[in-house]
């Protein structure tokens, strides 16, 4: 049985004629949305790897004794905080080495007040709430801050999590929309071709034979539209990734898609075609079962 020849005039109706393009458009949206989710997921993974080190900064105290008290209190709070796995003071020599390139000769021989830095390692699987931690530290040591990079990273992570959820949701909605549309068009086509369907049935065509007509039409439409939609979507995603690198949109991590996710995205039209075919078949059989 040729894939190009249909016993029923399914390609003659306007709704069916535009089906490949409609499927193509919806699958384009689905692939782009799922790609956004994959990018966000990959970013979250990279953030997870990098978010282990947080720097806590305590302002310089008026005297050495007070400074020691501040450090002791801050270290105690940090050690008690769930999600903190280790706390270590940055040695003064290392701190001086850090600021030397900027202060150079000015620093030598002077008693410039330098903050106390504490390196904190956090558990990436259950990191502490950094904003709350900063508040707690500031209550004990006025002016204490949690590393700015860590805080902004925390916000970026939330943004990435939002895009992951949004992308997954939008992708699934687009796929479900495609399936609903195919079901609707199949049902409308069945109603529009009542006489032709009856003709086939009068010749002894069983329901599954008639349903196969709609199934093949949906398969051909989804193969045509899905392939075009998916290729254009993947090119769009590649363009987005390329331009994000050129414009350095994300400073903490490089936006990318893992090889596995590329493969999964390329499989979207295949999975969609199978689902579309199944929906067309089920809808046609459902409609035919309501005829004598």
């Amino acid at each position: 049985m040729s894939l190009r020849r249909f016993d029923l005039p399914l390609r003659q109706s306007a709704a069916s004629r535009f089906l490949p393009w409609t499927i193509g458009g919806l699958l384009y949206l689905a692939v782009v949305a799922l790609a956004v989710a994959a990018i966000a997921d990959e970013a979250l993974r990279l953030y997870g790897l990098r978010a282990e080190l947080v720097t806590v900064s305590l302002p310089s105290a008026p005297d050495a004794r007070r400074g020691e008290q501040d450090v002791a209190q801050a270290v105690e709070i940090l050690r008690e905080t769930p999600g903190v796995t280790s706390v270590a003071l940055v040695p003064p020599e290392e701190l001086e080495a850090l600021v030397e390139p900027w202060l150079d000769d000015f620093k030598r021989g002077t008693d410039l007040p330098l903050p106390t830095l504490i390196d904190v390692i956090v558990d990436p699987r259950s990191p502490p709430d950094l904003a709350a931690l900063q508040e707690r530290l500031a209550e004990v040591v006025e002016g204490a801050t949690v590393g700015v990079e860590a805080l902004s990273r925390d916000r970026a992570e939330r943004l990435a999590a939002f895009f992951r959820a949004w992308g997954s949701g939008a992708g699934i909605v687009a796929l479900l929309g495609t399936l609903a549309l195919v079901g609707l068009i199949t049902w409308v086509s069945l109603r529009m071709n009542t006489d032709s369907v009856e003709l086939l049935r009068s010749m002894g065509a069983p329901d599954r034979y008639v349903a196969r007509q709609f199934e093949r039409h949906a398969l051909v439409s989804s193969a045509q539209g899905g392939l075009i939609g998916c290729v254009v979507a993947l090119l769009t995603v590649m363009g987005l990734l390329y331009s994000s690198r050129r414009m350095q949109v994300a400073d903490a991590v490089e936006l990318q898609i893992s090889p596995l996710d590329w493969v999964l995205l390329a499989c979207v039209p295949v999975v969609a075609a199978l689902l579309i075919t199944a929906v067309a078949r089920v809808t046609a059989l459902w409609g035919l079962a309501r005829t004598p």
Partner: protein, 229 residues
């Protein structure tokens, strides 16, 4: 092979279009169905083609009570029935060849086997030069011939023809009637609905008369005229 016992037919919740129909037809019988417009001729043929189920009574086709059959079994029985629709009902997007080949494809026929059978049938009906033409390029008479060819291509056990000669000239109609009588001799039971007095007089066969959904007959064939075949 075909028996109707107190059969009634209605469409949905509408009134009965056929009432208390009783009929028995044997293998190889040829009967005309006549009656005024709206009498129920088309409804009777459509019901015998199993496109509608009786609202009451028993319809037995090929010794099987259709009310007891599954959808697949009904489809299998339909494959033994040829139906010529009054409105011809050709698939406009298919060629003459593909329209006629359709029942063979539905029956699971394969390429070459279908090709030779269809070509032979179209040639015999004088449609050899329009094999690849779309129905829109055919005359009304040719369209009707294609419709008949499609109905008889599987050599059905039961042939139901609804006004098959209505758009044909006398010569073409005689050719068609010759085909039907030949099929009849081979064992096909033929029910032919017609308004044509001329046809009934030329081909003396039993007549079923339908009026307001009720069947009278079969009455014997007119004896005064000789068969033209």
């Amino acid at each position: 092979m075909l028996r109707l016992e107190h059969v009634a037919l209605r469409y949905g919740e509408g009134p009965e279009v056929l009432r208390n129909v009783n009929l028995t037809l044997q293998r190889g019988e040829f009967v005309f169905v006549t009656g005024p417009s709206g009498a129920g001729k088309t409804s009777l043929l459509r019901m015998l083609a199993l496109l509608h189920m009786p609202a009451a009574g028993r319809l037995i086709v090929f010794n099987e009570d259709v009310a007891q059959l599954s959808r697949d079994r009904l489809a299998a029985i339909r494959r033994r029935i040829g139906m010529v629709f009054q409105d011809v009902r050709l698939l406009e997007h298919l060629s003459t060849f593909d329209n006629v080949a359709l029942p063979l494809r539905i029956n699971g026929g394969q390429g070459e086997q279908i090709g030779s059978v269809v070509a032979e049938m179209l040639g015999w009906l004088g449609l050899g030069d329009v094999v690849h033409a779309r129905p829109s390029a055919l005359s009304m008479g040719q369209r009707q011939l294609v419709s008949v060819a499609r109905a008889v291509i599987t050599r059905p056990n039961l042939l139901l023809a609804d006004e098959p000669t209505s758009n044909m000239d006398g010569k073409l109609a005689r050719r068609l009637m010759h085909l039907f009588t030949q099929l009849c001799k081979l064992g096909t039971t033929v029910l032919l609905s017609t308004h044509s007095e001329d046809l009934i007089e030329r081909y003396p066969r039993p007549i079923l008369h339908l009026a307001e959904g009720r069947l009278r007959g079969p009455t014997p064939a007119p004896s005064t005229l000789a068969a033209a075949d």
